[in-house]
Symmetry: C2
Subunit: 195 residues, 2 copies
């Protein structure tokens, strides 16, 4: 059921998904600057025209590959407790962001230059993260673990935000222990403050 949901969400054909997987692989090996559309085409045995038709610029190709890559991490947690769900969400964010820190840095510079890329980043990446967190919190409200007014539109993203900050901006890459501290010492005291 879940993998069917995920397949339905992607807007790419099977062949396009292959091209994006190759792009992500080459990004991890060589970094953003040294990635070329030529290398992607050669490795994937595709024509450059095929690539350019879908993704006219390197930035668009890389952002699409990054967003598509997050799909693998997109198994929505449903452990039965708020703590379990937050830990699971946090650990999957860490794993993904640690792997792709240099890509995220490069994409950030591109998204600040190009409005369409920025919109794509928001719709396909940040909005999906938000939907995940919203579901996790809504289930905790249903179970009576937290009060509905513990959730604010302003601060829904403290968990992903802090973990991404740690990886991308400080080099103090967070692991499972940081996730556990963040959930137990910061998020749960905050979310249960009305309980």
């Amino acid at each position: 059921m879940r993998s069917a949901d995920r397949a339905a969400e992607t807007s790419w054909s099977a062949r396009e998904c292959e091209l994006l997987a190759v792009t992500l692989q080459l990004l991890q090996e060589h970094g953003y600057d040294r990635l070329t559309l030529e290398a992607v085409a050669t490795t994937a045995r595709a024509s450059k025209a095929t690539l350019y038709r879908r993704w006219p610029t390197k930035a668009e190709l890389v952002l699409a590959a990054f967003v598509e890559g997050t799909r693998e991490n997109k198994v929505e947690p449903d452990t039965g407790t708020l703590r379990g769900d937050l830990i699971s969400l946090g650990e999957s964010i860490c794993a993904h962001v640690n792997t792709h820190a240099s890509t995220i840095r490069a994409v950030l510079v591109e998204t600040s230059r190009i409005a369409e890329l920025d919109a794509m980043m928001h719709e396909q990446f940040l909005d999906e993260r938000k939907a995940f967190m919203t579901h996790v919190l809504a289930r905790a409200v249903e179970r009576g673990e937290i009060s509905a007014n513990a959730i604010t539109e302003d601060l829904w993203d403290v968990l992903p935000g802090y973990l991404i900050y740690r990886t991308v901006l400080t080099g103090r890459s967070p692991g499972p222990q940081t996730v556990a501290h963040l959930v137990d010492d910061v998020l749960l005291p905050s979310l249960t403050r009305h309980a």
Copy 2:
């Protein structure tokens, strides 16, 4: 007293501080990509040789200018309450980061490429932020507002981290209301959880 402290902390001469101020000004006007050392030299009526001697690359010059620029925001808060200090710290971080978001993005890419720049970013920027937060929390412990074990080495930077993430990665730039929510709904429930 405080301005004397600040003057003592800077490692630049008065003339060098002028050059860095011009750099920061041009960065805000034109962005990282379009900034040239020539333009800095011309605007500051300096020779290019003077600039290159101190800062051999554009990335080094820009990082130095950014770090020096934070010095102006570096009046350590001492409002008499933990809440007051955290709000003051958060608002000054927002003001600085909102102004320099595009510079931070550009510097991030450079610091991930060049180890010396990364070390400079840590020593001169992140470590100073940490010292500030440590003082604010230590005073709150002295006043009996929080327990000493509320402070963890791992999570000292949730306040600056989340605010920087919001500005640099999401475009949802935080203002005073976000700072107040973060302090009242997240940080204080976390820091006072042992009280």
